[in-house]
């Protein structure tokens, strides 16, 4: 069991955990700023960017993918503005049209091109390919100390580890800025904080996390990683510091339980096949949110609207 676990399950599980944590951390602030759907928007726009970057460079390396995603985000912003102005329709509708159109374009391009040499096809783009990120050279726990085997770890692990570490560092360094500007933007501006840059930085960080998590859970299910763990955490505590810690706990729990249930769950019910790990991770995070809604000690406060005075 141990050797097999290290070879087939350790790296996918680690990648799942790191991806979930990298997304959940910025997700906390997106939710408190009532911008949760920005995660959704990012996940849609990222796909065509990644696909085009792959077509241009021929690899699935991190930097071209990020640049592609950034380019796609820029195109999305311009398109939204153009549709809003030329069509004279409300911003929400313009966004809805832009995101789905760009996403659909990404799927179409992906389908029509030969990407068989790498793990990039429609199914993986939508749902990730966690199960295939296995560590071929591993022979057991001892391989963790074997340089040759370590060198053969899937590239995706290093990539998501770097991104997750970056997100953690940014979160710690800019903690006060994020907290003050999220709670009271007017006050933040009055004391001289660069609130526009903070907001953009948060969205950019979320976008980087989304691109990195693309390997693990695909471009759509990543939205669950942004929203479910922080939303569940918000229901468990009334302190921001504790909320962020709980969101990490829930993210790790979702990734581990989701992976295990996907791989072994069907066997317990007598089925022969495993189910999608990414799908199961998202489903577990949804169940955790549901449980938090039912039993969380601070559930009553969420959904209470702002007090309208004046």
């Amino acid at each position: 069991m141990g050797n097999e676990f290290v070879q087939f399950s350790l790296t996918p599980m680690l990648i799942g955990i790191l991806a979930a944590v990298a997304c959940a951390l910025p997700g906390n602030f997106l939710i408190l700023r009532r911008q949760a759907l920005i995660g959704d928007a990012i996940s849609h726009v990222v796909l065509p960017g990644i696909v085009v970057a792959f077509l241009v460079t021929g690899t699935v390396a991190a930097i071209p993918m990020l640049l592609g995603a950034a380019g796609a985000a820029l195109v999305a912003v311009v398109l939204i503005e153009a549709i809003k102005r030329l069509g004279r329709i409300e911003p929400g509708a313009a966004m809805g049209v832009t995101f789905t159109t760009l996403f659909a374009a990404g799927v179409l391009i992906l389908e029509q091109t030969d990407t068989s040499s790498v793990h990039l096809d429609v199914e993986h783009a939508l749902m990730g390919n966690l199960e295939s990120l296995i560590w071929f050279r591993a022979k057991g726990w001892g391989s963790l100390l074997d340089p040759v085997a370590l060198a053969a770890l899937p590239d995706e692990l290093g990539r998501i580890a770097v991104v997750c570490a970056l997100v953690v560092v940014l979160m710690i360094v800019f903690w006060r800025w994020l907290k003050i500007s999220t709670f009271d933007e007017g006050f933040a501006q009055a004391v001289g904080l660069p609130v526009t840059a903070i907001g953009l930085g948060l969205v950019a960080t979320a976008a980087v996390a989304a691109v990195a998590a693309f390997d693990a859970v695909g471009s759509i299910i990543v939205i669950a990683m942004f929203i479910c763990p922080p939303a569940a955490a918000r229901l468990v505590t009334n302190r921001l510091e504790h909320q962020v810690m709980w969101s990490v706990v829930f993210a790790v729990l979702s990734a581990v339980l989701g992976y295990v249930f996907a791989g072994y769950g069907p066997l317990w019910f007598g089925s022969q096949n495993a189910v999608s790990a990414a799908g199961m991770i998202a489903a577990v995070s949804g169940v955790i949110l549901g449980l938090a809604c039912l039993f969380g000690p601070h559930r009553s406060r969420v959904g209470v609207g702002r007090e309208e005075v004046l």
């Binding site: 001289g192 921001l240 209470v304 005075v309």
Partner: protein
Amino acid sequence: MTRPTETPITLAATEGRVTPRAAIPADAPLVLRGLTVSYGEKPAVFSVDATFAPEAMTAIIGPNGAGKSTMLKAALGVIPRLSGEVAVFGQPIDVARDRIAYVPQRASVDWDFPTTVIDVVLMGLYRRVGLLGRLTGAHLSRARDCLDRVGMGDFAARQIGQLSGGQQQRVFLARALAQDADLYLLDEPFAGVDAATERAIIDVLKALKAQKKAVVCVHHDLATVASYFDEVFLINVRRIAQGPVAETFTAENLHATYGGRLATTHLDQLDLAQG
């Protein structure tokens, strides 16, 4: 020393092309020159000049939509201004931010935010502590002291959503006290608060004035202008009048500010100056 307000206008003035404006007094806590703000095509605040007095409490009054809050926010850079100059103690605002404390409207923030009363007050120490500085015991006792001054000392560990409107307003005031500024700008501090809170807030503000601080409040209750404030600034998109309450808070100026919206019976109940 170069003049702090060297702009194309003043430069043109030195060349004799336009009439020069009076130099900005260095001791004035807040000076606005030609402040114009627009949300759409119509200006919300148009070409407002104002000079707020030191060691005094000033009320900014005017009808709804007259640009009272907008003027304050634009002066602070919370919303962009279309044109105009702002000087704080004779300096550009970005140099003088340490000397300003700002209390936004209570309804402008989400009180469901997961944080505690003492945490909100500690935000007032941000400019002292910095992005990565450590919060020390001295900071904490300072924040507690500020809470005591507004009568909220027993609520330090409360989640802010559990407070009443008046208590929330007092916490905001405590955060401003923690900033230890020389100029206090408050946006509707008495809106929707209970009588005890109103009393507590006015006592704190009067104590600030006694410490030679300047206090400027956006205010909506004409009945309390005369008893609370020394100076008054009347605005309805444009500046209507500014001066000591005893001279400026007149029926004539109120009519000019509010138009037909003030009933004569209402005016009779106010403690008006004889203009």
